[in-house]
């Protein structure tokens, strides 16, 4: 029987767009874009962290978003269309990333995994096929991961 997805899967959107037919930028465009994004981030990290779609939070209720409490840092990133979401948590051994992907209105995949180095997180980002669909999100993911690893150091 076909019927709409329960609210838990679609609370923030009517329907996921067809992610199989995105307009992909070329790798060259992506490199230029990410270079620009990184450059921009270096000059305005604090501004980016308080942006609409990049939310840095502490798990302490009522705590200010930045700076983060040492040992318990959390960053949440969401694509503009709500299809892809990342939650990064700094831990004693590295960074744990939870990737939530609404593959369609009806299918959701959550993956939680640990990274012990910035390089391993970077390699994983570079392998994700959705990096071309959401270049800004992945640029933010890399930056946030780097920041969390630096905090861990």
């Amino acid at each position: 029987m076909k019927h709409p997805a329960p609210a838990v899967w679609s609370s923030t959107r009517e329907c996921a767009p067809d992610i199989d037919t995105p307009t992909h930028p070329s790798p060259r465009q992506l490199d230029l874009f990410e270079t620009a994004a990184d450059s921009s981030a270096r000059t305005s990290d604090a501004h980016a962290a308080s942006g609409k779609r990049l939310v840095a939070t502490s798990e302490q209720p009522g705590a200010a978003a930045l700076p983060l409490a040492p040992g318990l840092e959390t960053v949440e990133l969401t694509s503009d269309d709500g299809v892809l979401r990342f939650r990064l948590v700094g831990s004693a051994t590295g960074v744990v990333v939870k990737r939530t992907h609404h593959q369609s209105c009806h299918e959701r995949v959550d993956v939680s995994m640990a990274f012990v180095s910035e390089a391993s997180l970077s390699q994983w980002c570079a392998a994700d096929p959705l990096r071309y669909t959401y270049p800004l999100l992945f640029a933010q993911l890399r930056r946030s991961g780097r920041a969390l690893f630096n905090r861990c150091d």
Partner: protein, 270 residues
């Protein structure tokens, strides 16, 4: 992934399981799983359990595969994360022999014992081997009868035939405990998430339980001493919040996601 040279230096499963502290060390982790505050802590515990049990890598999947209207896969990964990227990129969930085993069986098996029936399944096995599951154990974590949600915990080693020799019995015994604890942990998270997002309260759950028992509005109204119109209106509101088209679908969803106890419903049916 460890090199073959490093892999040959690893102690055998027999040596690991003969350690006097083997059971105690793993049970310590099992006892912590239920109180894991979030997925990041759960991943850390899975990594520790994997290491203490003598495996190199593992992955836990909790899934509802049957109904495409609400299919979900939730993974805890204690292996190279690029494995999941490659796996998901090819939408392997429906071709996965590990998930297939977990859907229909309750007992752990070695990967070598699983029959692969298609090229897609064989391709998945080869992919897993590339990422440290050269020898593997597949441990189902079934839900109660009649529910489609299931869990599966897969352990791997880069050493060929690592799980084939002595020590497998002890390993399997603990593997079942670890798998069941992670399965229960996920179910609790999913249930809490659904309750929070759909704002389901105790009264709603009571009504859903009565609906799941197959009672009519008239019977429910009599049980709760309210009007039939009141029952229908309440169920309609619940249905809207759960975003399902019928009251039966609402009851089914409540059972599947643990909002109500399926045992109580079954007892009432009999």
């Amino acid at each position: 992934m460890p090199s073959s040279t490093a892999a040959t230096k690893r102690p055998s499963l027999r040596q690991v399981t003969r350690s006097p502290q083997y059971f105690t060390n793993v049970i310590q982790i099992v006892e912590e799983i239920a109180s894991a505050r979030d997925a990041s802590r759960a991943v850390e515990l899975l990594q520790q359990a994997t290491q203490r049990m003598g495996a190199e890598v593992s992955i836990f999947v909790s899934f509802v595969p049957e109904d495409r209207s609400r299919a979900s896969y939730r993974l805890l990964v204690a292996c190279d994360p690029r494995f999941v990227v490659e796996y998901a990129a090819q939408a392997r969930y429906r071709d996965d022999p590990w998930l297939e085993h977990a859907r229909h069986h309750a007992l752990a098996v070695r990967g070598s014992e699983l029959k692969t029936s298609s090229e897609a399944q064989r391709s998945l096995v080869r992919l897993a081997e590339r990422f440290g599951f050269r020898s593997s154990v597949v441990v189902p974590a079934p839900s109660r009868t009649g529910l489609t949600r299931a869990g599966v915990l897969c352990f791997g080693s880069s050493v060929p035939d690592y799980f084939e020799g002595e020590g497998y019995g002890a390993f399997k015994l603990l593997a079942h405990s670890v798998a069941l604890e992670f399965h229960e942990w996920w179910l609790a998270r999913i249930r809490d998430e659904l309750i929070a997002q759909a704002q389901i309260d105790e009264e709603d759950r009571r009504l859903l339980a009565l609906q799941a028992e197959g009672r009519t509005s008239k019977q429910i109204a009599r049980d709760l001493s309210v009007s039939i119109a009141c029952v229908d209106s309440h169920i309609r509101r619940i249905r809207r919040r759960l975003d399902v088209p019928t009251r039966h679908a609402a009851a089914r969803l409540a059972l599947e996601y643990g909002l109500i106890d399926p045992l109580k419903s079954q007892r009432s049916d009999s």
